[in-house]
C-alpha cells in the first residue's frame, strides 16, 4: 500500500512516498533520499554497517521498517559533518587514520557517537563492549578504539 511518511532527516522536514511501508529504512535513505553514509552489510542486524540515529539512539536501519520512523528524527553520517566541517568524532577518525576500506566506519562512528552523547568519557572497556555488535573485517579495531578515545578526551596516545 503506497504511503507517505513524514519525519526529520538530518535536521530537515522530509516527506517520502513509498510503495511498501515495511521497506527497511536503509533502502529509503540510500536509494530514495540520496544518502550513502549508511551502508548495506548484511540486512540482518548483525554487522552494524547500516547504523543511523533515530531520536538519538543508534539503530540498524536495515531491519527498521520505514513506517517506524514516522514523526521521528533520523540522523545519518552525513548529518554529523562534512569533509570541510567534520564532527569532532569524524575528525578523530581522520587524525588517527582509523580507516582501512572504511566500509564499516559509518557504523563505528554512528554507534560511538550515540554512546558519547550519553557517556562522554567511556573507558576502553566500555568502548569495546559498545562496539561488540559492529563488525570490521579489515582489522581496524585498534585504531577505531583510539579514535573514540581521542574524541572523548581520553587517553589516546
Amino acid at each position: 500500500m503506497p504511503t507517505t511518511i513524514a519525519f526529520r532527516l538530518n535536521g530537515k522536514a522530509t516527506r517520502l512516498r513509498v510503495d511498501d511501508p515495511q521497506m527497511p529504512l536503509l533502502y529509503a535513505l540510500r536509494n530514495d533520499l540520496g544518502l550513502q553514509g549508511p551502508r548495506f552489510g548484511c540486512g540482518l542486524g548483525q554487522c552494524g554497517a547500516c547504523t543511523v540515529h533515530v531520536d538519538g539512539e543508534a539503530v540498524r536501519s536495515c531491519v527498521t521498517p520505514v513506517a517506524a520512523i514516522k514523526g521521528r528524527k533520523v540522523v545519518t553520517l552525513e548529518g554529523l559533518g562534512t569533509p570541510e566541517h567534520p564532527d569532532p568524532l569524524q575528525q578523530a577518525f581522520i587524525d588517527e587514520q582509523a580507516v582501512q576500506c572504511g566500509y564499516c566506519i559509518n557504523g563505528m562512528i554512528m554507534q560511538a557517537k550515540a554512546m558519547l552523547n550519553a557517556n562522554p568519557h567511556p573507558t576502553e572497556d566500555q568502548i569495546r563492549q559498545e562496539l561488540a555488535q559492529n563488525l570490521c573485517r579489515c582489522g581496524t579495531h585498534v585504531r577505531i578504539v583510539r579514535a573514540i578515545q581521542r574524541a572523548s578526551g581520553g587517553d589516546a596516545k
Binding site: F40, G41, P83, Q97
Partner: protein, 739 residues
C-alpha cells in the same frame, strides 16, 4: 582502445610519459627483479603496449594512471607519494586513476603484496622520466646548464639567480609524449620529503563523512536492480520456477533465466529483494560435497595430479643419525573472505559492447574472463574500477560483475547487482582446505638434521580455477587465462639451514569449493605449519624457541629482525613450554618468523595469550611485530596494514571455518560464520625497520603468515598442549588439554 586513451589525454595540453611492457622488462635486468615465482601468473598473456603512466597537465596537475587498485589498503596514497616525490611536486597536486581497462595499463592483479614492489616501481620510473624531460626543457628555456637547476614544488629554478619556470609553464598548451626511460636517474632517497613520511590517506575524510563513493553507491541513469536466486545445491540444476507471486510486487520488471542462472529484476532494490524471495524455484537434488566432519580423510583420498618438490637439500632418505624423531600433521579450515560489504557491480550492454563498474582487484583479468564468457573481443568489454568493501583476495566482486553482465544483456538497461549476505558467504570463492604432514630428525644437540614437509593443495590448472560463477551456472565458457589460486605453495620452503630437506606439494585433482586466493594465500597456512613445527622441534630439544631459530638462520637481516623482536617484546628465554600458573586462566607467549616467500619482507611476531583451561577459550592479549619490508613509502600506512593483518588473522585462527552439508554452504551469515569482535581484538606493538635504499616490498600480507603459529606456540607455552587444527575453537583446545 588506444585511440580512446589518447583522446582522454588530449583534452588539454600535457606531458605524458608512455610506457610499454618491453621497457619494463629491460629495466628488470638492472634492478633487483622480483622473483618470478612471486609474480601472479594470472595476468598473462601479455597485453599490448599501453599509453600513459603519468600525465602532467597544463595546470601543473599530475595524473597517475595505475593498474593497481586500492582495496582499502592505502595504495592510492602511496602511489601518489611516489609520483610526487620523484617529480618534486606537492603531494596534493597528484591525482591517481585506477583500474579502468580503457585508461590504465595492465600491471597485473592486485595481490601478493606486490602493488608497491611492482606497480610503484614503474610509476617511480615514469615520474623520473618526466622530471628529466622537464629539466631539459627548463635548461633550454632559462639558458642555464642542467647541473645549475634545482626543483622545488613543481618549479625549476636556476641556482642562486631566482630565475625559474614552473612545470605548468613548460607544458603550456602543448602535447608532448615521451617514452619511459628505464635508465632515468632516480632521486637520492636521502633527499626525500614525501616518501617515507606518514602522509594522511586521501580517501579518509570522504569515508568518515559519507562523501566517498563506493561501488555499492554507484548509480547510472535508468538503472534497474537485480538479485540472483541461488541454487539449493552447489551444482543443482534448475528444473522449473514460478514467478507468479513476484509479478504482483510493485516495481517488479522481469525474471531472467539462463540455464541454472536465475535472477529477478525490479525498478527498485527492495522490490528486487522481495521478488527474489517470492520466486518459487525447483532445483534438482545434488549432494556431491564431501562430509564436512571428515574433510581431512576425504582430502587424503583425492587423486594427486602431480607431486612437486619445492625445496631439496641433502637426502632425507639417506642414512641419518637421529637422536630424536618428530612427526606432526596440521590442518587449516576452509575460509571465506568475509567482506563486510557484499559484492556489487553495475553493467551496461550497448551496441555490442559491455561496460562494467566493479570493485574487482583484477579489472584486466576480469575483462578477459567476461570476454571469454561471451565470446567477445577483450576490447569490447570495459571494466572500470570503483572502490568496494575490502576484499582480501578474490572475493565475489568478479562474480557479481558477471551476474550483472548476464542480466544487462537481457534487459537492455544498466543493471545493478547487489549480492546478499548469504550470496557472499555462500558463493564467494573460498580459501581451500589445507593439510600438512611434517617429519624431522634432531641430532644429539637437538638441532634438526632432516626436515620433510608435504602439503595437499588444489591443483593449479584450469580444472580448479576461479571460474565466474555466473558463467558456470549459465553453461557459458568458464576458461580462466592461466588462472590459479595464487601460488599457494609459496612459503612452504624454509629459510633455516638444515642439512637434509625435502619440501613437497601434492597437487590435488579436486577441492570442495571454487578456490581462490584469500589474503596471504597458502603462505599463511604453510607458515603456520612450518613455524608450529619448528617450535615443536625447539621444545623437544629443550632450547628457547627464539634462540633455536637464531641458530638456524644465517641471513643477517633476519637475525637483526629477531634481535629487534626480542627487544620489543622483552623476550625472556624459555627452555620449554610449561603451564605457567596452575589456575583456571593461564598465560603464555609464542613467537613465529618468516622471510616471505624466502625472497621478500621479513617479519617476526610474539603473541601473548590467555587460555581458560575450564572453557577452552583463548584470548590473544597482545602482538609484538618486528617488520622489515625494505624501503617504507608510508609508515603509517604500513602500521595500519600490520594491525589489520594481526586482527584479521587472529579472527581466522580462533573463530573461523566454513560449514556445509552435502549440498551447500550452511554458514551463510555472521551468526553461523562468526568473526572476531571488539572485545577480542589484541593490542599491537610494532617496530618498523626502514631501509630507504632497499627495494620497497609489500606489507599487505606477510604479517598474516606469522600470526597463526605465534598463537599456537603461545597456547603451548601456556598449557603444554599443541593446537594443530585451525580454528582453535574451545572444543579443540579442551581436547588438546586432555591430550
Amino acid at each position: 582502445m588506444t585511440i580512446s586513451r589518447r583522446g582522454f589525454l588530449q583534452k588539454s595540453g600535457s606531458l605524458v610519459v608512455t610506457f610499454s611492457l618491453a621497457s619494463l622488462a629491460s629495466r628488470a635486468q638492472t634492478t633487483p627483479a622480483p622473483p618470478s615465482a612471486a609474480q601472479p601468473s594470472v595476468g598473462a598473456p601479455p597485453p599490448p603496449p599501453v599509453d600513459g603512466f603519468i600525465a602532467i597537465g597544463a595546470d601543473g596537475k599530475v595524473t597517475v594512471f595505475s593498474g593497481k587498485v586500492d582495496l582499502g589498503t592505502g595504495v592510492r596514497t602511496a602511489i601518489a607519494q611516489i609520483a610526487a616525490e620523484e617529480l618534486t611536486v606537492p603531494f596534493t597536486s597528484v591525482e591517481v586513476i585506477q583500474g579502468d581497462t580503457l585508461l590504465t595499463p595492465d600491471q597485473g592483479v592486485t595481490f601478493g603484496s606486490l602493488s608497491i614492489q611492482n606497480g610503484g616501481t614503474q610509476i617511480r620510473l615514469a615520474a623520473a622520466t618526466a622530471r628529466e624531460a622537464l629539466l631539459g626543457k627548463a635548461a633550454e628555456k632559462l639558458g642555464v646548464p642542467r647541473t645549475e637547476l634545482t626543483i622545488h614544488d613543481g618549479r625549476i629554478e636556476a641556482k642562486g639567480s631566482g630565475k625559474g619556470v614552473t612545470y605548468a609553464e613548460l607544458v603550456g598548451g602543448k602535447k608532448l609524449e615521451i617514452k619511459l626511460d628505464p635508465k632515468a636517474p632516480l632521486k637520492d632517497t636521502e633527499s626525500y620529503s614525501i616518501v617515507g613520511k606518514p602522509v594522511p590517506r586521501l580517501d579518509i575524510p570522504g569515508k568518515v563523512t559519507g562523501r566517498f563513493m563506493y561501488m555499492q553507491d554507484f548509480k547510472r541513469e535508468g538503472m534497474v536492480h537485480a538479485r540472483v536466486i541461488r541454487p539449493a545445491g552447489v551444482k543443482a540444476s534448475l528444473e522449473s520456477f514460478d514467478d507468479a507471486a513476484a509479478k504482483k510486487i510493485p516495481g517488479f520488471l522481469t525474471t531472467v533465466r539462463r540455464g541454472n542462472f536465475l535472477a529477478v529484476v525490479a525498478k527498485n532494490e527492495w522490490a528486487a529483494i522481495k521478488a527474489s524471495r517470492a520466486v518459487k524455484a525447483k532445483w534438482s537434488d545434488w549432494a556431491g560435497l564431501p562430509d564436512g566432519s571428515k574433510i581431512w580423510e576425504w582430502l587424503r583420498q583425492v587423486k594427486v595430479n602431480k607431486d612437486e618438490v619445492l625445496q631439496k637439500a641433502g637426502d632425507v632418505a639417506g642414512p641419518i643419525k637421529a637422536a630424536k624423531k618428530l612427526t606432526a600433521t596440521y590442518d587449516f579450515a576452509i575460509h571465506t573472505h568475509g567482506s563486510i560489504g557484499p559484492s556489487c557491480a553495475v553493467a551496461e550492454a550497448k551496441d555490442g559492447k559491455i561496460t562494467v563498474w566493479t570493485a574487482s582487484q583484477a579489472t584486466h583479468l576480469l575483462q578477459r574472463q567476461l570476454a571469454l564468457m561471451l565470446g567477445l573481443k577483450d576490447a569490447e568489454v570495459r571494466c572500470i574500477y570503483i572502490d568496494g568493501s575490502g576484499c582480501y583476495g578474490r572475493n565475489g566482486h568478479e562474480d557479481a560483475a558477471a551476474d550483472a553482465v548476464l542480466i544487462a544483456l537481457e534487459v537492455k538497461k544498466p543493471v545493478r547487482v547487489q549480492w546478499s549476505r548469504a550470496d557472499e558467504h555462500g558463493w564467494d570463492p573460498k580459501g581451500p582446505p589445507t593439510l600438512h604432514d611434517f617429519r624431522a630428525s634432531l641430532d644429539e644437540g637437538g638441532m634438526p638434521v632432516s626436515w620433510e614437509s608435504e602439503v595437499f593443495l588444489p591443483d593449479r590448472p584450469a580444472k580448479i580455477s576461479c571460474a565466474l560463477v555466473g558463467a558456470q551456472l549459465s553453461g557459458l565458457p568458464t576458461d580462466v587465462p592461466s588462472g590459479h589460486p595464487g601460488g599457494v605453495q609459496q612459503s612452504l620452503a624454509i629459510a633455516y639451514s638444515v642439512p637434509n630437506v625435502k619440501v613437497t606439494a601434492h597437487w590435488l585433482d579436486e577441492t570442495p569449493f571454487r578456490a581462490s586466493w584469500i589474503r596471504t594465500p597458502g603462505r599463511m597456512q604453510n607458515t603456520y605449519a612450518n613455524e608450529s613445527f619448528i617450535d615443536e622441534c625447539a621444545a623437544a630439544a629443550g632450547i628457547d624457541p627464539l634462540d633455536y631459530r637464531r641458530r638456524l638462520l644465517k641471513d643477517p637481516r633476519g637475525l637483526e629482525l629477531l634481535d629487534r623482536l626480542a627487544k620489543l617484546a622483552n623476550w625472556t628465554p624459555r627452555a620449554k613450554g610449561s603451564a605457567r600458573g596452575g589456575g583456571e586462566v593461564v598465560t603464555g607467549r609464542g613467537m613465529s618468523y618468516v622471510k616471505y616467500e624466502l625472497v621478500r619482507t621479513y617479519v617476526g611476531v610474539v603473541a601473548d595469550v590467555e587460555v581458560n583451561r575450564k572453557t577452552g577459550a583463548v584470548k590473544v592479549k597482545k602482538f609484538y611485530i618486528a617488520h622489515d619490508c625494505g624501503q617504507i613509502i608510508n609508515p603509517d600506512g604500513v602500521r595500519n596494514q600490520l594491525e589489520g593483518n594481526v586482527v584479521q588473522t587472529t579472527s581466522r585462527v580462533l573463530f573461523e571455518q566454513l560449514t556445509f552439508d552435502r549440498s551447500k554452504v550452511t554458514s551463510l551469515d555472521w551468526a553461523t560464520y562468526p568473526i572476531l569482535t571488539f572485545p577480542d581484538a589484541p593490542a599491537v606493538a610494532i617496530d618498523l625497520i626502514d631501509r630507504p635504499k632497499e627495494v620497497p616490498w609489500g606489507a599487505g600480507e606477510p604479517t598474516a603468515a606469522v600470526v597463526p603459529a605465534a598463537i599456537a606456540n603461545a597456547i603451548y607455552d601456556a598449557t603444554g598442549a599443541r593446537l594443530r587444527s585451525v580454528p582453535f575453537t574451545p572444543n579443540k583446545v579442551l581436547a588438546a588439554l586432555k591430550g
